[in-house]
Symmetry: D2
Subunit: 324 residues, 4 copies
C-alpha cells in the first residue's frame, strides 16, 4: 500500500548541503503525492511535536544556503525510554510512516534505536563535514568543507611565502586524517599530521631546518584535530628549530558556507533516493552514492566505527612528500 506521509529532520552538526537534501526530500515526495512533515531541531522536535507540514514552497530558495532550515540540536531526552516513547506517540499521532534522518553517525545510531524499539522506519542521508560515516564513500558537506579549508590555507600561503614563516594549520578530522590529507595535498603543504600515522616532530623539524639551509623557508603543516592541537605543535617546533612558527585553528569556518556543486548534487540525489527507499519499503538503510550509483548501507553498518580502508592514507601521504 502506498505511503502517505513521511517526516524529515536534521540532527548532529550542520553540514553544507543539508538544505539541498531537505529540498529534494520535500519536493520529490510531494511530487509523488506523499506528504512531508518538517521536524524542527532534530529528535527534540519529534519529542516536543515541533513540526509542520511542508509544501513545495517551504523549501524554495534554500538550495544554496549553508546550515539547515530545520535546525539541529543535541537531544539527551532521546536517549531515554521516555523520550523515545513521546517521539513515537507523535509519530503515530501525525500518521508519519517513515523518517528521513539527515545527519551523521550519532543521528543514525538514534534512528536505529528508535527503529528497533518501535519499528519506526528511518532512512538515513549521510551529511557530515568530517566524511566519517562507515560504509559511505562521501558525505554531504565534506567537499564544501575541504574547499573552505583550502581557500583558508591559500590565504595563509600568501603570508607564509611573503614573510617566510612556518605555519601549523589545524583542520577538522577527529578520528581520521582523510580531510587533512586531501587539504594538504590540494594546498601544496609541506607536511601533514594525522591520527592514523605516528609522526616524529624531530624529523619534521629536521626537514624544516634542512629546507631552510637550501633557501626554502616557508612551510605549512596541516594537522587533523584528532592528531594534535596546532598551537601546541607550533610551540614545539619553535622550541626545536628556534624558528618563528604560527598556529591557525580553522575551526567552525569549515562548517558553514554555500555548498559546492558536488555537495549539492550529492544531496539532491540522496534526497531522491531516500524517498524512493521509503516508497519501495526499504527499512533502516543509509543512502549513499558511489561512482554515480546509489548504494544502500544498513543503518547497523553506518553506525560502526568507520574503516578507512579505501582511502589509502599512505599513498596520499607519500604523494604529498613526493611533491614537496
Amino acid at each position: 500500500m502506498a505511503i502517505k506521509r513521511i517526516a524529515v529532520l536534521t540532527t548532529g552538526g550542520d553540514a553544507p548541503g543539508m538544505n539541498a537534501a531537505i529540498r529534494a526530500v520535500v519536493r520529490y515526495a510531494t511530487n509523488k503525492n506523499i506528504e512531508v512533515m518538517g521536524v524542527f531541531r532534530g529528535w527534540w522536535g519529534l519529542i516536543n511535536e515541533e513540526m509542520k507540514l511542508f509544501n513545495h514552497r517551504s523549501v524554495a530558495g534554500i538550495i544554496n544556503q549553508g546550515g539547515t532550515i530545520l535546525k539541529t540540536q543535541r537531544c539527551h531526552e532521546f536517549d531515554t525510554e521516555e523520550g523515545l516513547m513521546r517521539a513515537y506517540e507523535n509519530v503515530k499521532k501525525h500518521g508519519i510512516e517513515g523518517l528521513v534522518v539527515i545527519g551523521g553517525d550519532g543521528s543514525f545510531r538514534a534512528a536505529l534505536r528508535f527503529y528497533k524499539k518501535f519499528g519506526v522506519n528511518a532512512i538515513g542521508i549521510p551529511a557530515s563535514i568530517d566524511n566519517d560515516i562507515n560504509g559511505v564513500y562521501t558525505t554531504i558537506g565534506s567537499d564544501t568543507a575541504i574547499n573552505t579549508a583550502l581557500a583558508a590555507i591559500d590565504n595563509i600561503r600568501d603570508t607564509a611565502t611573503s614573510m617566510e614563516r612556518i605555519f601549523v594549520v589545524e583542520v577538522m578530522g577527529r578520528h581520521s586524517g582523510f580531510i587533512a590529507l586531501q587539504v594538504a595535498l590540494a594546498a601544496g603543504c609541506e607536511d601533514v599530521i594525522i591520527p592514523e600515522k605516528k609522526y616524529d616532530l624531530n624529523e619534521i623539524c629536521h626537514s624544516i631546518v634542512n629546507g631552510n639551509l637550501r633557501g626554502k623557508i616557508s612551510w605549512i603543516i596541516v594537522v587533523a584535530e584528532g592528531a594534535g592541537h596546532a598551537p601546541d605543535i607550533a610551540r614545539q617546533i619553535t622550541e626545536i628549530t628556534t624558528l618563528e612558527t604560527r598556529a591557525v585553528v580553522l575551526g567552525h569556518i569549515q562548517r558553514g558556507g554555500r555548498p559546492t556543486a558536488f555537495s549539492r548534487t550529492l544531496a539532491l540525489r540522496l534526497g531522491e533516493a531516500a524517498v524512493e527507499c521509503l516508497i519501495k519499503g526499504e527499512t533502516a538503510k543509509v543512502v549513499s552514492s558511489r561512482d554515480g550509483q546509489i548504494i544502500l548501507v544498513p543503518l547497523e553498518t553506518a553506525t560502526e566505527k568507520k574503516e578507512y580502508k579505501e582511502y589509502k592514507a599512505d599513498e596520499i601521504y607519500n604523494l604529498i612528500k613526493s611533491l614537496t
Copy 2:
C-alpha cells in the same frame, strides 16, 4: 634501462588544474631523478625548440593558479609532415624519452599521430572543462568550471527571484549536456536544454505560463552551447509567452579561476601517474582516475568521440524536473 629525461607540455584550451598537473609531473619526476623539460606553447614549442629544463622551483606557487604557465596554442604546423619532423628532431636533440601531454582529445590525437610516425612515446593527462574525453570519467578542470557556472547562476537567481523574470543561461558543452545537467541540478534550475535530448520550446513555454498562473514567475533555463544559443531561445520564449526573458552567455569566465580541491587533487594524482607510466614503459596511454583508482586508457580510445553511456542524462534530467 631507466628513463632520464622527459618533457611536459599543455595544448588545447586551458583548464583550471593544468598548473597543478605540471607541478606534479615536474616534482615527482625530479624526485625520481628524471629531468623534465618544460615546453612552451604546446606543439609549437616542440617544433620551434621553445623549451627549457625545469627544476623543483620552476613550479613553486602555481598549484592554485588557473591557466597554464606553459601556455598553450593552436599549431597547424603540427598537422604537417614537416612540422612533425622538426618536432622529432628537437626531441632527439634534447634527449627527450617521453612526453607528458596535458590537454584534451585534440591534443591526444596529435600525440598519437606523433607516436605512430616517429615512435615518440606520450602519456596524456586529460584536462578540459568540458569533460568530453572518451573513456575518461572526469577531466581536470571540469569540477572547477561547474562551480564557476554555479556561482554565476546563484547570482542570476537573486535577480530572477527579485524581479520575477525568466532567464536563459548558456553554459559550456558543445557535444554533450553533461555539464549543463550538473549545473542545472545544483542551481535548482527549472529546465535544461541539451544536445542529447530533443526539446519542445512550446512545452517549456507552456510550463512557464502555467507556473505564472500559480504564482511562480521566476524561471531559469540552462542551455548547453551545443544545443542552442541563449539569446535566440530567450527571444523565442518572449515571442511565445509575451513574458520578458533575459539571456546570459557565461562564456570564458567558466574557463579560468582557482582550481577547486577536486580539480587539484585529480591533477596531482594524474601527474604522478603519468610519470609512473613513463617509468614503467607504458606507451600511448591516457591516465584517468575513477573511484580513487588510476585507470589507463589507450590514446586510441581517448581520441574517439565520447560515449556518454555512464552519465545517465535521462536520470538527471528527470530529477531536475522532479525537484522543480
Copy 3:
C-alpha cells in the same frame, strides 16, 4: 508629533545590499517604536495593496543575501493619474506617514511625482549597481558589482595569458564609464572604452599589433555597455589586426551575489539615516554617505542626469595607460 507608521519598498533593478537596507529600516524604526509596512513589488504593491506589517524577525538572515525580499517590478500604472490615486488611497488606509524608497533614479522620479501630487513624503535610499545617481557619491551595490566583474575578468585573464588571446569584456554602465574604469584599473586591463571619451579603434589595434611585435600578446579591453557592444568590437579588432579576438558580455551576473562589506555597511547606515529623516520631518530627500558623513540630497537633484564631475575619468584612464 511622533511618526507612527512608515512603509518600505524596493523598485527598479535589484542591487546587492538592498536587503541589508530593508533590515536596517525595519529594525531601526521598530526599535524606535515606529511600525514598518513592507510593500511587495515596488509601486505595484502600493497600488494593489500587497503589503504587510514587518517585525524584527521579518528581516532575520537577509543581511548577506543579494536581491530583495520585497521584490521589485516595473509598474507603468504608477505613471498614470489613476495609479497614483489608488496608491494614495492605500497609503491613507494603512496610516502610512512616510515612505522609504530603495532604488535608482527612476524610483526617485516616481517618488517625487507622488510627493508633489499627494504630499506623501518619501526618503530615497540610493541602490544601483551602476552608481548613476546624481549627487550621490556611491550607491548601494556598486562596490559588489565591481568586485563581481573583477573576479570574472581575473578568470578571463587566466585564459588570455595562457592562450595569448585578445578579449573584449563588456561591463555595466549605460551612461558612464565609471564602473568600466574602476574594473579595468583593478584588473590590470590594457585598455578601456567608455561613453565619455571618443575612442579610435585603429589606435587600439595599433597598440595591440605593436605589443604583439614586442612579445606582449594577451590583451583585455573593457567596454562599458553604453559605449559599444563587445562582440561588435571584437569582430572589428579581428578584421583590423587579423588576430583572434574573443568577446564576453558579463551581463546579469554583475547584478546579484552576496553584498561586500562596503555595500552592506553603506546600506545599514543609509537605512538608519532614512528613518532618522522621517523622524526629523525631512521631506523628499535622498540619503547619501560621503567620507563617513550622511548627506541629504533633494529628490529633485537625485533625479537629474548624473554629472560625473567628481570621478575624473581622464585621470583614471591615464593611470590605466601608464600601468600597461
Copy 4:
C-alpha cells in the same frame, strides 16, 4: 634635475594589495624613464644588497595576488647604526635617489630614522590590514581583510543559526576596534567588544539570556584581538549563562587572499602618487587617498599613534545595537 633611479621595498606584515602597489610603482616609474630596483625582504635586503633592477615584465600577473613578491621580514639590524650605515652604502653604490616604502607604521618609523640619519628620501605607501596608520584614512589591504573576516562570519552564522549557539569570533585589531566594528556591523552580529570601550560581560550575558527567553538563541559576538581573547570570553559566557559558547580565532586567514577592487585601485593610485612625489621632490611623506583626492601626510605624523577621531566608534556601536 630629473630623478633616475629609485628603489621599492615592502616591510612589516604583508597585506593584500602590496603587489598591486609594487606593480604601479615599477610601471609608472619605468614609463617615466625612471629605473626601479626591487629590494627583497625589506630593510634586510637593503643592508644585504639583495635587490635587482625590475622592468615592466617583472611585475606582470601580480595585480591580483595576495602577499608580496618582494617578501618582507623583520630586521633588527636596521635598528643599529651599523645596519643603517650598510644600507646607506648600498643606496649610494646603486645610485638610488629615493625609496618607496610599502608597509605600516613600523616601516615608516624605520624610513624616517634612515632619512634623518643619512638624508635618504623615502615616500611611504600605507599597507596594513589593521588600518592603524595615523593620518591615513584607509590603508591598502584593510578592505580585503574586512571582507575575508566577513565571509568567515557568514559561514559561522550558518552554524550559529542552525545549532542555535553562541559564538565569540576574534578578529584583527590590536589597538582599535575599527575593523571589529565594521565586521560586526556588516555581518549583523549581536555584539562587539573593542579596546576603546569598556564592556560589561554580565550585561552581554544578560542580553543573551533575555534573548533566549524570547526565542532568540543564536548570538555572534565579535571581539577585537586587542580587547580580549575569544576562548577566554567564550569560557566566561558559558560560566555566567550556562549556555554552550564556541570561540573562533580568525587569525592569519585575514591577512592573505586576492585583494578586493578597492584594495587594488587604492594601491595602484598610491603607487602612482608615490612616484610622483619623488619626481616632484617631496620628502619624507606618506601618500594617502581620501574621497578620491591624494593627500600627503608627513612621515612624522604617520608614525604617531593613530587617533581614531574620525571613525566614530560610538555611532557604529550604537547602530549595531539598534539593528540587533
